[in-house]
Symmetry: C2
Subunit: 407 residues, 2 copies
Amino acid sequence: MDDNERTERFDHLFAEPVRETLGESTYGEWRSISAPDAAPLGVGFPYPESFPNDDLVDAADAVFDEEGDTALQYGGSDYGDQLVEAIAERARERGIDCDDDQVLLTNGGTNAVDAICRTFLDPGDTLFVEAPTFMGVLKLFGNFGVEVEGFPVDEDGLDVDAVARELEARREDGRELPTVFYTIPTFQNPTGTTLSLDRRERLLDLAAEYDFVVLEDDAYGDLRYEGDDVPTLAELDEDGRVVHVGTFSKTIAPGVRTGWVIAHPEIHAQVRRMNAGGTNTFTRGVLGRYCTDGAFEENLAELREAYAERLDHTLRCLDEHMPPEVEWTEPEGGFFVWVEFPEGADTDELLADAAEEGVVYLPGSMFFPDDSGENGLRLSFSFASLDEIDSGIEALARVASSATAEH
Amino acid sequence: MDDNERTERFDHLFAEPVRETLGESTYGEWRSISAPDAAPLGVGFPYPESFPNDDLVDAADAVFDEEGDTALQYGGSDYGDQLVEAIAERARERGIDCDDDQVLLTNGGTNAVDAICRTFLDPGDTLFVEAPTFMGVLKLFGNFGVEVEGFPVDEDGLDVDAVARELEARREDGRELPTVFYTIPTFQNPTGTTLSLDRRERLLDLAAEYDFVVLEDDAYGDLRYEGDDVPTLAELDEDGRVVHVGTFSKTIAPGVRTGWVIAHPEIHAQVRRMNAGGTNTFTRGVLGRYCTDGAFEENLAELREAYAERLDHTLRCLDEHMPPEVEWTEPEGGFFVWVEFPEGADTDELLADAAEEGVVYLPGSMFFPDDSGENGLRLSFSFASLDEIDSGIEALARVASSATAEH
């Protein structure tokens, strides 16, 4: 509905956080940024051939065969419980010290972040984030009526020194300290950068000193294509204040809408309570079967290979085509490369030209809480074919060249 | 985790509504009320043979075959859109004047109620409900820090005159008026009663006069076994203040965790925004296929027949076995019969005896916002076999007789 058409006749009935944020747009609107003949480097969708369609039908068949009476029931089948155990086991293998019952299944990663926000955030609270950060959570935070402050990201991820300075200044000035730091430390969306080990440790020190919760969004942690793993914040955490979020959206498929929270039992209990209503036991059983018969790890290995090729190809195309004034990140995993045009360029304005030239990206301003970042943009290499990546980056180079010539 | 073990070290970080309700227990705990050798007349589970396991695997197969590239993607397949259209079409056939885009899919009916609560309720607000009402929403409302006031239910459903009197008294005394009235007007959980047409109209008049929202939970509306349909509140609504909730939990299976909200566009927009994170497009596509190829209506007809037999059997067993001091409702649909022992009996205390005798029910106090209703209990005829219903009600009659003898 057009905002102009709103009669506002129900507004007085809405809850205060809703009334205060009526102008906020809805989660997911960026998906409509596309153009029929342009290379789709905007959306962070997995490529369609990556979906384990047949495996999931086989898994559903097996679950119904073996546990037909409970597969669709409240509570679900044993395979559903095995899914929780498999997630906990994988977390432990990655170094996160947790029990099975610290894992809470959610309806996807965003639902997990939402549930954590409900647990910790009151209107007027302060939330720290990386800037740029995932546009989806910025929309979500908009619903909570909180102050969102962003901190710069460089090749080693979040600039933790800048965070330390701001915390100190806020304490000195008696200003509000953050309740939560939302971070995507590994293969960050949208920059693809990974927070270095010493910065991770420093961030956790700050969390303890200034008493805030660290919400670690690990959506891409399984998708490393080169280099060595860096421990998750949850692994490094020594006092239970890291709340870790994972998801199968990138490693199985977005449509299975299955994520999880791993948290200290006392935090887990409240997140669970605030996220009433249960998960989809149908999906849960199917994924439980899929994750315990070896298919998941096999598919993941294939994904890593395919995405490695795409990332490699993307970086090569950027090297080949881009004018020298343009810079970009060089991620070792994930779905995204962050590209920066020279200062003064406006990637919002350039998007129409770019679509015309043959490429769609997401403009940088979407990823900043203050709508800055006009000269940046996110390229996703997860969805387009290698040929489209090629032609898309060539098109982007033409846009960059003419934009640069203008300045 | 035992409440005793809580260190409370994170409590100061929680959001205010969480801190204020830390003692509230978690949604779903009633599922643990069972006894191995007792007839399971407690839980409101559908009976396992009712689940369309094979149909769903077939549907999944078809969806992946025809729309494999989008079935698991963000946004989902065309079948997912067809699910929304099918829900809207069925609503229109039942007399609800709505467009397709007024239907919002949710992760089950409880998630729908939760999203609506987030849209309308601030801590301290007042919520009116039937008493008894669904214990699940009472848990849910507990999370919002609202005042819940219950109104009696008789054979014609909610006592709307009592509501009118309370509203008038509150207005006269300058006390808080309700923001939302949560009601299950048709085959109410737990009483099985249906609100009569004139009471429905009167409730809507009161909603308009006192400016509150009516949350119509229609979880059982499709499950009528005899008598004539009564129009939904959404059909009778003339000024957009009924927010209608439906679910496939009882008509397909709880495990597909798919419900919906039908609301005025301006309310829909805010509920949608507050319920960020999306639905399970895997399930959505499978259900879209299942609901458009005729399988849904066919299965529903079978369900009605099977449940009709169970209800009939339940009422016959009650007639046959119960001592004269015991009363019960005579529903025309749904899953439940409400039984009342004579005043003074305590069904919480009697539950252990009952399990020993061979029956499990849910004690009445679970369904009252003020934990009253001690002499009531909910019998569910949806899950147990006819034999179990028989033996369970015989056992219950023995408990009733000895309880009555004591008073």
